[in-house]
């Protein structure tokens, strides 16, 4: 359940940055690379609980998954990573190897975890 620690960091960093933006926080949109080992369900639960008593109380946490993109310095491939698992498994994951030539790759996308934006309505939290 390390998701609580992640959400604790998120709230701790986000609340001060919203100080100059009045209004009620409706949604917090987080972009999560598919290589991060974090449960969406646990993140949502942690957010609901840890946001209580803060500016973020009652807001929805929206998680957007970022697919893995790799580039290969050997053959020049740049694009989606190959996959392991698939239709027979209900879970498929990116393989960090060039799908074209098999060489080691640089990960360009898939490891990110950041707040992309927050949507606020113009009413204040006190308006109910």
């Amino acid at each position: 359940m390390h998701e609580y620690a992640v959400v604790d960091e998120l709230i701790g960093a986000l609340v001060p940055r919203l100080a100059e933006h009045p209004g009620r926080v409706r949604t917090v949109v987080v972009r999560k690379g598919e290589l991060r080992i974090l449960s969406d369900h646990a993140l949502a639960n942690a957010f609901e609980i840890l946001a209580r008593g803060t500016r973020l109380e009652g807001a929805d946490l929206v998680l957007e998954t970022v697919a893995t993109v790799v580039s290969c310095t050997t053959c020049g491939y740049h694009g989606p990573a190959g996959r392991f698992g698939g239709e027979d498994d209900h879970f498929s994951i990116p393989v960090l190897s060039c799908p074209q030539c098999g060489a080691d790759v640089h990960v360009d996308a898939g490891r990110e975890l950041y707040v992309d934006h927050v949507t606020l309505s113009d009413d204040s939290p006190a308006d109910g």
């Binding site: 960093a13 919203l18 994951i93 190897s97 950041y114 934006h117 949507t119």
Partner: protein, 221 residues
């Protein structure tokens, strides 16, 4: 309604900065550092014990950070082997973090230390998102956990370059074919290195230490 956009700074940026600070600190002191993580009972502590013996035999000074939810059993095992050790209890936390490691480093004589092992809490999943600042990370599993460990935790293994599959001497007794683990790992991580070990017997340790650059280490590193 209006949106406030952000610059894309990682939510765990503070943790990443602390991990980088640990990394720089250890580099400046010429300490090689290995983070060891993996499932409960897989053999993490035995691996570190055997490595302590081997590296001390080369005249190196070995330090350890022993993390567990509670108690100091592992810490005492490392001290008994002659390591400089710090005990860390994470209590209800399922993982070590870089901040805790930073404090543990304060209690170690880093000027004298050549190699540091950081043994994480027994947990295969949670520590993966919390870098500590070590030079290398080793994930330890054992055949007694079943031959489907890689398939059940593919994301961890896809991103782990050093994997130890321990207790291979028990594979027949528990009905596990280690080859399946090897094949699964090479499918999810074609560039990773996997070591089949019986650490209680010291088997497979040399290959791992060589791969980690600790084989015949000079104190001049």
């Amino acid at each position: 309604m209006h949106d406030v956009r952000f610059t894309g700074e990682d939510i765990l940026a503070r943790q990443l900065e602390l991990a980088e600070a640990n990394y720089r600190r250890l580099r400046e002191k010429h300490v090689r550092s290995i983070s060891v993580l993996g499932a409960i009972g897989s053999g993490k502590t035995t691996l570190v014990e055997q490595a302590i013996d081997r590296l001390q035999g080369q005249g190196l000074c070995v330090a350890t950070i022993a993390a567990d939810s509670a108690g100091d059993d592992d810490h005492r095992r490392f001290v008994a082997r002659g390591a400089k050790s710090v005990n860390v209890n994470t209590q209800d936390d399922c993982h070590l973090d870089a901040h805790t490691v930073d404090h543990a480093l304060d209690a170690l004589p880093l000027d004298d230390v050549d190699v540091l092992f950081i043994e994480n809490v027994g947990n295969l999943i949670c520590p993966a998102d919390f870098p500590l600042g070590a030079d290398a990370e080793v994930v330890v599993i054992s055949v007694t956990e079943g031959d489907d460990m890689v398939r059940k935790h593919p994301k961890i293994f896809a991103q782990t370059d050093f994997v130890v599959v321990n207790k291979v001497d028990l594979a027949v007794a528990v009905g596990v074919d280690p080859k399946r683990i090897v094949d699964d790992y090479s499918a999810v991580n074609p560039h990773g290195k996997l070591f089949l070990t019986s650490l209680r017997r010291g088997e497979g340790l040399d290959e791992l230490l060589n791969a980690l650059g600790l084989g015949c280490m000079s104190t001049q590193w």
